[in-house]
Structures are given as C-alpha cells and as structure tokens.
C-alpha cells in the first residue's frame, strides 16, 4: 500500500516536472499577463511545496529526532499526557524520566507549543507549530526588511525571496528563531522612539513561543550590546530600548519561573555541577577556530543550518562594488548595515568556537559561565545571514545587476534552503518511497510497546527499565518508567548512581567516558562497540548488529529499581552482563514500528 502510494507520488512528481519543463518558463506561472509578478501566488507555491510533504505523510511524517523527538518535543508531550504541564509545585515529580526528576527540570508549561499539543495532539500539534513558525518567520522578516532595511518599492522581490529563504531555515520550533525578526523590529521601533503598544505586546509574548536558554539569554545580551554600542557611539542615552530589554527579561523570567526556582533550591544539586567547560569542548585553539569558521559558513544546527558561504561571497562583492563607486547616500547606509551584520556574524562565531577559552579561566569565580554556556548567541546567525543576503542583493541591484541574475541567485538560495531543511528532505524521501529515518508513528511504535507491556504483565510504575540502541524517550512515551533519558538538568545524585551501571562499558572508550562525565545530559546506556553516534540509538528492525562484549552492572541496576532492558540489538553474551533474554518482539504486519525489541531481564 505504502509502496503503491510512493509510486503514484513519484509518477505525479515526474509528470509535474515534465509539464513545467514543457512550459519552458516556470516563472511565467507566477506572472500576470502584464508581466508583473504575482507575489501572493509565488509565496503560496513555495509554502505549499515546503509544507506539503510534512502534511501528506500523515501519521508517519518525519519529525526531527535529534534533541526534538528524543527530547524537547517528547518532554512537552509527556507533560501534557501526565497533566503536569501547568503544575508549578516545587515538590511535583515526573517519575518516568531518569528514575523520577522534579517537574521543574522540564520546560515551562506556559508555552504555545504546549497549547498546540493539548489542542491537536503530539503530531498534529507539531505540524501546526511548524507551519505557524514558518509563517511568522516569513511575515516577520518581510516586515523587518520593508521597514528598516529595504524600504523601496522596487526591492519588493528581494524582500519577498529573502523572507521566504529565512522561513525555510530548519530551526527548532521550540527555540524561537522564527520570532527574531518580530523581536528586532519591535526593539528597533523602541530605539527610534516610534514604538506603540503592539511592540510592547510583542516583547511580552515572545517568551511564550521561545526558549529562555537559547533565545532569551541571547536576545538580552545581543540587544543590550547593541544598545550599549549605540549609546557610546552617539553619546546619547535612550532609556526606552533599555526598558524594552527589561520587559523582555521580566517576561522570560515569569514564564520560566520554575527553572529559576530550581536553581535557587538548595536541596537540588544539578548534574551541571560536574560540567567541565574545557574538557567538554575542543581545547585546541586551532579546533576552536575551525569550529568558528564552520559556524560562519554553515551556521549551527540548533540555530538552523544555512549554506552561508555563497552569501558571504555575495556580501564581499557588494561591499567591494560599493567601496569602488560610493554613489547614493542610501547605499552608504546599507554598506554600513551589511558591514555591522558581518562583524556580528564574525564575533558570534568566534565566541562560539573559542568559548572554552573564556569560560575555563573564569570557571572558579563564575561557575555559571560553564554551566549555562553563554555562547548560544549563535542562534542569531540565520537572521543575520539573511539580512546580509537581502542587503547585498539590494546594493548590487542599485549598482546595475540585472534582475535576471538576481532572480537566479534568489532561486538558487531557495533550492539550498529546501535541501538543507532535513525535515523537508526526509519527508520527500518518504514520499519517494526511500525513507532512511523513522516516521512519527514508526518512532513511537505504540502497538509493539503495548505488546511488551502485556507480556511483562505488571503495573508500569512498579519497575524501572533502561534502553540500549533505542532512545529512552520511546519507552517513556509508551508509559514505561526509565532510569535513563535526556534532560538538560537533573539530580547529580542520579548521574553518580547511573554511572555505576555503565562504568565498565564507558571505561573501554575515553570518548564515551568524557561524553558522560563531562557533559552527561544524555544519561544513556552506551556501548563501546557502537561508539559515540546519534545513529546508535536508532537501530532499526532489519539491523543485524549484535554486541559481543557488553558490560553492565546488573546489581547496581537492580538497586535503583531496574528490572528490564529494552535493547534494539542482540547481546551475544547477556549472561556476562547479568541479563537474560526473555523474548524478541518483532513488529507484526499490521504494526508500524521502526524497532525490533530484545527484552532482557536483570538476573
């Protein structure tokens, strides 16, 4: 059935491409008889092409797994399912993750995403949030460019395409990259003394649809830095923008009050106390510089991958041509705007790459520097890249670059945007009939885990489990109580106890022990034979991988309440690990599952 629908999709797609080629001028579709561009039709077409694969794949649509289905989104779904999303009690505990952690360690329930999950469920909530964030990114960027960067009517096409390119960036819906243009626009209104009530409302609402860790701290530091720079440059004091930053900070703190409470709670010792700023990142100066350079040319995956090298070359050409022939004063203004954005990109990338050199020497005096990592300003890179892109194109347009050349550059950037968007690409792969990653329903495999639960036959809260070769979030989603998991903050005591279970295994590979000891947000069962890769927690049902020598402290596991291990791969000698194979659960013909589970019991 799935193969047949993939075949029909392939045929339809090829037919559509042939028709377009036959028309020879695809752009003609978006032009009226008078030759004017139909912007609304063009925007709709790009949005349709962007969102259709995600919507068309239905319950098995691909949703990014890294930090999303294994973490950020799974936590929100779990909070809504458990009815604890709006539980602000300091004593409340979520028992399913990492042997039971305080509710306050999970993200705030005062979030638009929580509302969507509550209204539409996990998958449809994600689809709605994805579509909304892309729409907000587009509208916000277009508005920002029109008001503050490219206000001329003849630049509408550049504004439109740059905003579309920005909306294609594969950012995480939870972090709030989509709202950056709105935020910057409101703050610039405050700087110019043109703010109205809508700008204050924007500053108040942004924290409800973004992350304090990624967006909050970065926005406050960057806007504060811009304000300070402007004040020193002009020797004038404007309090309104500073008040705006204060309002934004206050709103973030109120929305994430539980996180603040957690840090102030003397009874809670975070595993982040054992973070090692120097060891957890590359300590070689050259490696840090390489990291900075890499961020400069492809951004960073948390912020959203952007193929930025051609954008930087474009900016260099634009700045050079402006320098050679200064021309109109508006172009001089744009020259400095582009240069400022480029300087910010360079500074943010350098800070990201060389952060250990700043954090480590100060670690003794300001431990928060290494615990909270203030180099997350990298999240502003996609916005800066596309501001540079739009400004450079407008400079070149004024310098006489033909509309045809600019259209081709914009079209190529759109192609790069589509293919660098992993969610779009995997959903296209699924439609094509060649998926390489699990879809949403396959990932959670609810039917398979119901069978496992029935086989075990005990209340799920009466025992604990751990997972090997499969993300612990899957078992948590299916109601099991896990000792392993992914959390940004959890009790140090749990980390120390869990370490005794995996100590022998991680001792085999120094990279594994460093990964766990010096970072440890992923408190997973590791295997030295598999190594350190994301793919090791996505071992599919057709895999023939087997572990020859897996070390596991079953006694320590049982002392923590552990009873079963769900493994996605076979252990050749489970008895050496103190485990016993109970049953192998293979997905039946009518079940949608990515996994084949080997159920082991600790003996």
């Amino acid at each position: 059935m799935v193969q047949r629908s993939a075949r029909s999709f392939r045929r339809a797609l090829i037919k559509a491409i042939v028709h377009l080629m036959a028309a020879f001028r695809p752009a003609a579709l978006f032009r009226s008889s008078s030759g004017r561009l139909r912007p609304f039709a063009a925007v709709l077409a790009v949005f349709f092409f962007h969102l259709a694969p995600l919507l068309y794949n239905g319950s098995n649509a691909y949703v990014r797994i890294h930090d999303n289905l294994e973490g950020e989104w799974a936590w929100l779904v779990l909070l809504v399912k458990s009815g604890r999303a709006l539980d602000f009690s300091s004593t409340s505990v979520i028992p399913q993750i990492l042997g039971g952690q305080p509710r306050m360690t999970l993200p705030s329930g005062l979030s638009v995403n929580v509302l969507f999950i509550w209204l539409f469920g996990g998958l449809n909530g994600y689809k709605v949030s994805y579509a909304l964030s892309r729409l907000l990114a587009f509208v916000g960027m277009y508005r920002l460019l029109r008001v503050y960067f490219l206000p001329e009517e003849k630049e509408a096409f550049i504004r439109l395409c740059a905003a579309l390119c920005f909306s294609l960036v594969p950012f995480y819906v939870q972090f709030g990259v989509a709202l950056q243009p709105f935020l910057l626009h409101s703050w610039l209104n405050l700087m110019r003394g043109k703010a109205n009530w809508a700008d204050y409302v924007c500053l108040l609402l942004v924290p409800f649809y973004s992350s304090i860790v990624w967006m909050g701290t970065s926005a406050v530091i960057l806007l504060g830095g811009l304000w300070l720079g402007w004040t020193l440059w002009k020797c004038r004091l404007r309090l309104q923008p500073l008040m705006g930053i204060g309002l934004l900070s206050l709103s973030y703190l109120l929305v994430n009050l539980s996180l603040l409470q957690l840090y102030l709670n003397p009874d809670f010792t975070s595993h982040r106390k054992h973070y090692d700023a120097l060891a957890m990142m590359d300590i070689h100066f050259s490696a840090g510089l390489a990291e900075a350079l890499f961020s400069c040319v492809v951004s960073q995956y948390h912020a959203g991958t952007v193929v930025a090298l051609p954008l930087l070359v474009l900016a260099a050409v634009a700045l050079r041509s402006q320098q050679q022939e200064p021309g109109r004063s508006i172009l001089k203004y744009r020259f400095w705007q582009t240069a400022l954005c480029l300087v910010l990109i360079a500074l943010i990338s350098l800070l990201y790459g060389l952060y250990p050199y700043i954090a480590a020497p100060l670690d003794e005096f300001i431990p928060l520097l290494s615990q909270l990592r203030f180099n997350r300003m990298i999240i502003a890179l996609p916005l800066l890249f596309f501001l540079v892109f739009a400004l450079s194109l407008s400079i070149l347009h004024h310098k006489g670059f033909s509309s045809r050349a600019i259209s081709i550059v914009l079209a190529c950037q759109l192609v790069m945007g589509f293919f660098s968007n992993d969610e779009w690409l995997h959903n296209m792969r699924r439609l094509w009939g060649a998926p390489v990653k699990p879809g949403y329903a396959e990932f959670w495999a609810e039917e398979l885990f119901k069978r496992i639960n029935r086989y075990i036959g005990q209340p799920q809260h009466s025992y604990r489990i751990a997972n090997l070769g499969i993300h612990p979030a899957v078992a948590q989603h299916n109601g099991f109580y896990t000792l392993d998991g992914l959390l940004p903050v959890y009790r140090l005591e749990h980390k120390v106890r869990f370490r005794s279970i995996i100590a022998d295994e991680i001792a085999k590979d120094p990279r594994l022990s460093a990964y766990f000891d010096e970072w440890g947000n992923r408190c997973y069962l590791f295997s030295a034979e598999l190594g350190l890769s994301d793919q090791n927690n996505l071992i599919d049902k057709n895999s023939r991988l087997a572990l020859n020598d897996f070390r596991f402290n079953a006694e320590a596991f049982k002392q923590m309440g552990g009873r079963y291990v769900f493994s996605a791969l076979l252990l050749q000698h489970p008895e050496r690990a103190g485990l016993r194979l109970l049953k192998v659960f293979e997905p039946k013909a009518n079940e949608t599952s990515w996994w084949k589970i080997y159920l082991y019991e600790a003996v």
Binding site: T305, L314, A405, I408, C412, D422, S533, D534
Partner: protein, 44 residues
C-alpha cells in the same frame, strides 16, 4: 517587440555560477552525503 538583454558582466556571471554550483552541491551533499560523511547522518 523583443526586449534587448545586455550580456552579464563578469561579476554577475561569477555570482550566478557560484550560487548555481552551491545549489547543486547542496542537493548532492544533503541527499547522499550521509553515506560518505557519517556526521551528516544525524540529521540528513
């Protein structure tokens, strides 16, 4: 009447070729790069 289109200058041509090259590279790297660069496999 057919409109006259001036030939592209060197900079225009260079930028268009550069962007076209990167668009093509993006298609190749993001679609099949996972088989050659394991790091890409986490996402692509």
């Amino acid at each position: 009447m057919k409109r006259y289109k001036r030939p592209w200058c060197r900079r225009e041509r260079g930028l268009v070729y550069l962007f076209a090259l990167f668009a093509l590279l993006s298609i190749l790297v993001f679609t099949w790069g996972r088989y050659f660069f394991p790091l890409l496999g986490s996402f692509y």
